[in-house]
């Protein structure tokens, strides 16, 4: 905790300091340190379905990239893989984000489809909305995925699932990321409850938060932060994500 606070303070100082008067090498070194400080604080950008060049992050950071969409419609499974190029620095820890949508009650678990889209990544994140009637399907699917894919497994989760619901209890996942943006009608209530110091009741939701550059964040501190940008990532946009690192 203390180390986190010191690192955050250092990051803020580095970000605020100006590079005037330094040579190009020193400027680049400082820029590398600055960029590195964000991801070393547990900041992971989501690179969604648009062309993205994240090489400015520097080596050895983590990036969660949209790997594709799986649509389930009864027996039918459609896979729409990522279409846009994604440029990453060397040695990036790659987290494939796979979105699953349902058109009608699914009758087949899309484990093979997930395996196809998961290639090239070190970690897997599954993004889905589960209606009450679909929860058992997703629970079983996550057990299948856990068995078939030997990698860290996370899911995105509605903040309300994390706050009051108990349906995620016992899911075979490493982490559920409470999505604290685009919350619709729930936003006011969730933010108010977090503002008065409540934490997520679901233990799986207590390691990280999902935020967006364009929405205010009220959330428990010292969490891994996943950051969504509604536009292409640029170095400037990534710097603006520092607000989440220093909180």
């Amino acid at each position: 905790m203390k180390r986190f606070a010191i690192a955050a303070l250092l990051a803020a100082v580095v970000i605020l300091s100006r590079a005037d008067g330094e040579g190009p090498a020193a400027q680049e070194r400082r820029a590398q340190e600055r960029r590195g400080s964000l991801t070393s604080l547990g900041m992971t950008p989501w690179a969604w379905e648009r062309r993205e060049d994240l090489r400015f992050l520097g080596e050895g950071k983590s990036v969660a990239y949209y790997a594709g969409l799986i649509t389930l419609d009864g027996d039918r499974i459609d896979i729409a893989p990522r279409r846009n190029p994604l440029l990453l620095p060397k040695n990036t820890h790659r987290i494939a984000v796979i979105r699953i949508e349902t058109k009608s009650a699914p009758r087949q678990a899309p484990v093979d489809a997930i395996k196809k889209l998961f290639r090239n990544a070190e970690e897997l994140q599954i993004d889905f909305d589960a209606t009450k009637s679909e929860r058992e399907f997703y629970r079983a699917l996550l057990f299948d995925v856990r068995r078939e894919i030997k990698a860290r497994l996370t899911i995105t989760a509605l903040a309300s699932w994390c706050m009051d619901d108990r349906w995620m209890r016992g899911l075979p996942i490493d982490d559920a990321v409470p999505m604290l943006f685009r919350m619709g009608d729930d936003a006011k209530v969730i933010r108010a409850r977090l503002a008065r110091g409540e934490d997520f009741a679901e233990p799986l939701c207590r390691a990280s938060i999902g935020v967006s550059l364009d929405e205010p964040v009220i959330a428990p501190r010292s969490r891994r932060v996943w950051v969504f940008n509604d536009d292409r990532w640029t170095e400037e946009a990534w710097q603006s994500a520092a607000q989440f690192a220093s909180r």
Binding site: R50, Y65, G68, D78, N84, R99, K103, D127, M179, G184
Partner: protein, 703 residues
Amino acid sequence: MAKRRAVRIAVMVALCAATAVPCSWDTTPAFSFRVRPDDPESYINGSIGIIGKEFARSHLVVAYRWLSGNPPSNAEREGFLSLIDHRLKRFVAAERPATTWEKARAEIRGVQPGSAPWEDRSGSDYGYFTNCNDDAFLNAVEVLRDRASRFGAKSAAVASWLDAQETVFENCHEGMSIPKPAEPSLPPLIRADRAYQIAAANFYAMNYDDARAQFLAIAGDSGSPWRQTARIVAARALLRKATVPVRSENDGAYVFDDEPMQQAERDLRAILADASLAASHDQARQLLRFAAFRLHPQERFAEVAKALMKGPGSAVEARSSLDDYTLLFDREDVEKRNDDLTQWIETIQGGGNAIGKWRETKKPHWLVAALASASEKEAAELLEASGKIGADSAAYPMVAHHRARLLLASNKTDEARAELDRVLEQKLPEGSRNLLLEQRRSVARSLADFVRDSQVTPVGYDAEQTEEKFTYPLLPEDAAKVLSEATPLDMLADAAMTNDLAKEIRNPILIAAWTRAILLDREDVAKRLAPTVIAIAPGVEKHYDAWLKASAEQRRFAAADLVVHNGGLLPVIYAYGGRLATDTDLESVNHGGGNWRCFHGAEPLKSVPPFLARANTADERLALMELGSGPTFMLQAFLDLAGENPKDPRVPEGLSLAVKGTRWACGDAETDKLAERAFNLLHKRYASTTWAKETPYWYKSGY
């Protein structure tokens, strides 16, 4: 190394618009869409309705054609619809052609179908491209059936053909698998097929130079049934070579190789010049358009703008023109020409001298653009001109909407209402009808008219502008505000008892009126509404009967006892009806919010519909304000009751429920103080009760 040309293309952004934002959980209903028509098919067929300045340009092109008096031909409509369905992800084939192939293959083999080939192959940098198109699988099915009927499904010839074709499709997703050359003993047709299969396998394996050479060799073989097809596919190999793998340069721009793209263009022109290849001409034109988009974007933009303005074209051309036009429109390096379509779209989207253009041209689409951006100063001229547009015109709903807007701005309420009455008699797109009803609500002369026009059905969700079939109406925000903040209790009760009201509309109004009657001690109204309330929420009867029997002095405590047991008792009406639109479980405390009453001290509305012009709600508003928020009212009541009658059995339970309620409801400036007092009292005076034991904390109220 071929020179690379960087091209900024919005293609992918546009194609992936629906997934450019991670799926939102914001399910706020939309009564009309900002960026798209609610039913694209009717829209393309002329039911234009009311277009907004945020509409996607593809929809504005369609509107332009209808409003300018040059409706698209049936073929063009088909082409436009196919593109719009694709972009809105509305079209899903009954069966993937790859699955059709897998079934056909399995049938001939006499086995159960397995997994169909995956059409997409990794290009580079994590992006995939569609390597094996649907046509490839459908053609393979056709050829398989033909060869089976010629040589027999179980023949060695068909077995060999099938082995080779399965190998071809192995390349769709990954790897490099090339079929072996045909045995000399096989029939000549199967040997000709094999040459094509080998070239196709190289094509899918991304060996584009080899593939092209092999296809050209087949094209030169007068005995091959694949002669014509091979010539076209040889050009396609060049186009693939130019664009695959998908690459981007440092600034994120897409790049392609000029040289193979230009060679493909020359080859395709040669095909068009060769009358003996007439069967391939349509396909050659299509591929030429693909090349022109990349090699000559400026010329292509001018060409498609002209085609879209003029029509008619084939369905394929129309789709391609609309696709290319809208994609090139977004490119900064493409100069927007001074054509009427582009000017009109830019004016609709960003303003401009629409009235000047209308005065100059007297064209109806410019009149619509002028009306949409007209100020009060220009109203008279435009109202006169637009009065001649009849209900049979595609422009009529849009014209009526803006005429009503201008009339309302000039305080010509009766004329605006008459305009709206006329247009609402027409068959209209749902979203446009909802916009017109919103305008008519603002000039409603009676409660009945207002309630009638408040029953509107959403067309989908607002956040992602996605359509959704709602089977019930919901109260729009403006209607909820008028009913909640400007309507006297008696009228609210009348509204709740309106005949034939959908329950999603009635219930929020009914509960608000009844709760308000209880809180304001209006027994007459409470009694009038009680049977209907009890019918939908039988649980409230017990505490309501106690309230009825209570003396005047005890009424406040009985009301608090009723309210504290029912988190759903709201004296206010929220947009879309809040939780009460679809939930009649009054007893529950909804952890997502919407319990008891929030107190935001809202200002009175600036304007109200005419039927409320003389309504006075000031006293009722004041009385409700004095009660404070829901938790404050409950806490204060039970603290007072504890003071008056400490042994009243309702006190410990009421204190406990009210304290816990602060966690799930809005508070006001007094709430936290009262919650702490109530908690302390509960634990001091009633410490031995179950209620005290079940209340370990007090909470700061929120929201």
